[in-house]
């Protein structure tokens, strides 16, 4: 049985889903269900004191999904650590998708602050899944401090550009001792399939599911794309060739 194991915990789905930007909670849940995912990311934000809503959490069945709080919004290690602690205090398991993105335009991660926060959070007993640039050396250092995965980006968040960082991600995968989860920028099932064919252990998708008119249908498509890529990776893909190779016999033709 082909299982994804993160920090000793087994998952049968290799598609993680983000819950941001959906037009409604109903569409979000529809996407979650069709995706077959077992891990969903959530963010922490201030309660609007003057007109509080009762939040989106009640829409997510804690028996079906592992809630993975992210530290989105954090601009440095300290803010990320505060958010992780708040999430745990709010009753989540001590898992955290570590995001430190000082740049508001491209939301790219800060390698220095991310490593700093990862060290602190690992020491505090968190299972840390860091969102990073596709930087093989940084990925190694994070694994050395004990992160449970590395989550290199395929392209900047929300761009739908696909695996633009393929060369670096291939190196990260080759050298990884923990699961590699490709995060950010995957805009189509073919992107997710490609990441999996390269040997990624899982992918995380949000924008592509949230911005389509049919989140449920798109989520089902991504589910198949991820499985397709994984199965092809396990089956063994052929090399790319320069010269053509006939798929029909080259002998026994009429004229021969």
């Amino acid at each position: 049985m082909d299982e994804l194991i993160i920090a000793g915990r087994k998952f049968s789905s290799r598609l993680l889903v983000g819950t941001g930007k959906f037009a409604s909670n109903a569409l979000m849940v529809d996407a979650m269900e069709h995706s077959g995912c077992e891990i969903v990311t959530v963010a922490l934000r201030r309660v609007d004191i003057d007109n509080p809503d009762d939040g989106m959490l009640r829409h997510i069945d804690p028996k079906k999904y592992l809630l993975l709080p992210n530290t989105s919004g954090a601009r440095d290690a300290e803010e990320a650590v505060r958010l992780a602690r708040l999430a745990r205090a709010a009753g989540c398991e001590p898992w955290v998708k570590l995001e430190v993105t000082p740049d508001p335009y491209y939301l790219l991660p800060d390698p220095i602050e991310t490593l700093k926060a990862a060290e602190i959070l690992v020491k505090e007993g968190f299972t840390v899944l860091p969102y990073i640039n596709a930087d093989p050396v940084l990925a190694k250092r994070l694994q050395e401090v004990g992160t449970a995965t590395v989550m290199p980006l395929g392209a900047p968040i929300g761009t739908n550009k696909g695996v633009r960082t393929a060369d670096s991600i291939a190196i990260i995968i080759e050298q990884a001792i923990v699961p590699v989860v490709v995060d950010a920028g995957l805009g189509a099932p073919s992107h997710a399939a490609l990441a999996m064919e390269m040997g990624a252990d899982a992918v995380l998708v949000n924008t592509a599911l949230a911005v389509t008119p049919n989140p449920g249908k798109m989520a089902a498509a991504f589910k198949k794309g991820v499985e397709a890529g994984r199965e092809a990776f396990l089956a063994g893909l052929g090399e790319q060739r320069q010269k053509a190779e006939a798929s029909s016999p080259l002998t026994g033709f009429l004229r021969d």
Binding site: R45, G55, M56, L57, P69, N70, L86, A90, L204
Partner: protein, 66 residues
């Protein structure tokens, strides 16, 4: 009393504890997380955490995120 709540200063009639504050704000303690003077509180501590003039509180909840 004066407290800073989610970045805004507020004056309230004296309220004994964080739990009482959540009550007064009609916030479900099970749905939020609270940072009290930069210290994160466990839910179990809300009732035992006295509120004092000048306290700084962050009350947050989960929202959709990627």
């Amino acid at each position: 009393m004066q407290i800073t709540l989610n970045g805004k200063s507020r004056s309230l009639d004296p309220i004994p504890t964080v739990a009482a504050l959540l009550d007064s704000l009609n916030l479900d303690a099970s749905r939020v997380a609270v940072e009290h003077n930069r210290v994160v509180l466990l839910m179990g501590d809300f009732a035992a955490t006295p509120l004092r003039d000048g306290d700084v509180l962050e009350i947050v909840q989960f929202v959709g995120g990627g």
